[in-house]
Symmetry: C2
Subunit: 238 residues, 2 copies
């Protein structure tokens, strides 16, 4: 099909499709003349995946490029392939505060004010959090490396909870891990049913990114329900 038809089928404007082509998120079409390319079902499917990762997954164009590279890498043992895809889907938390500088008209260049939040050596909260995560991995017998990126993201989140005076939340870790283990098993059962290798990694990407969105929404719904029960509301308007 031509690019206009691809646009019509997916609802993605032609200039946006051209942008994805330039950024390498979509493979080039087959040239049918010097100025005309033809696109197939694989392009349509890939385009829908890009939109889902952007709109529901909230990933950046750069992050999507990396994730799709993992989907397209066709070799290596299945477990390594899954690990590579899952690991690239870990959000980059904490540290340099880049998200702040963007909106800060005064600039962030005050060298004298650098401190524990600015990176560098690990602070006390990070050391404690790292110990806690290592113990969790050991107690649950999880077969993951201690330097795993998701484990590092967990360390950052736990350290942050302590810093804001909610260290007590860390007590919930075992219960959270129990629920996460259940969800992780459900996820892998779904993935393992896939036959084709490309399908399998794509399932990990979709399931991980969109699965986060699904679970976060369900958790908020369950919270509202639990709150209604605890505080004795019959029906809720929130």
């Amino acid at each position: 099909m031509r690019i206009g038809e691809l646009s019509r089928r997916t609802g993605v404007p032609v200039p946006t499709i051209k942008y994805y082509l330039r950024e390498g998120l979509l493979p080039a079409g087959e040239l049918t003349s010097p100025n005309q390319a033809s696109y197939g079902d694989a392009h349509e499917r890939r385009l829908r995946l890009v939109r889902a990762l952007l709109e529901v997954g909230g990933l950046s164009v750069a992050a999507i490029g990396e994730v799709l590279a993992a989907v397209d890498e066709g070799d290596g043992p299945v477990h390594d392939l899954l690990g590579a895809a899952a690991t690239r889907l870990v959000p980059e938390y904490g540290g340099g505060g880049g998200a702040v500088s963007g909106g800060d008209g005064d600039g962030d260049g005050d060298a004298s004010a650098g401190g524990s939040a600015g990176g560098g050596a690990a602070d006390a909260e990070t050391v404690l959090a790292r110990e806690r995560v290592a113990r969790l991995i050991e107690e649950r017998g999880w077969r993951i490396a201690s330097g795993n990126k998701a484990a590092e993201a967990l360390v950052a989140a736990l350290a942050s909870l302590r810093r804001v005076g909610h260290g007590g939340f860390v007590e919930l870790l075992d219960d959270y891990a129990e629920a996460a283990e259940r969800v992780g098993r459900i996820d892998l059962d779904y993935v393992a049913r896939r036959v084709a290798r490309e399908d399998l990694v794509e399932s990990v990407v979709v399931g991980t990114v969109l699965g986060d969105a699904v679970f976060a929404a369900l958790r908020r719904m369950a919270q509202v329900d639990a709150s209604a029960r605890t505080f004795g509301k019959e029906a809720s308007d929130v």
Copy 2:
């Protein structure tokens, strides 16, 4: 304390603190002279909360402003207060594709290419997803309104899964809901232990935003472990 001391204690640069003051994320200090303000423990705590929501929660400055407004609203029944805070923490998914336009040098103004992804009337996937979510709420007996923002986010995520050819993932919804219900109960038990009202809403904010990060990290760790077991790896390097 002076602003320099507040900066030293929290590791947040002085210009960044001034930016938060201008944006209303931090209440003004007490003026001790026309050019000098004094800050207390409440400022320090609030500043750490702002950093945590930015760095670990990944919220924007505008979103943090809204969330803090919910924390500071001191009246109304507890359940409504919790609902207001939780609801403002739902990411805005799907629809207009604003995340795309930002990186699109060609502009998104191709009116002829507008389609199902561009908003407007609900497409078939959205209709199906909405029915599924309504059934889920009914079957689980969750006391939440059908127009709840988290429920709408769930509808968007499920519709997106169908659009990318992973409608099968929807079959996992009941298992996900089971795990989410468990986590939601854990969350509320934690919150209900708080005595002070401001503490309570702050707990919801912290627990919801940072709890998402904690759970997402644990889920990826559990996936790597499940993959190692399924595909027969003894130890993993991912």
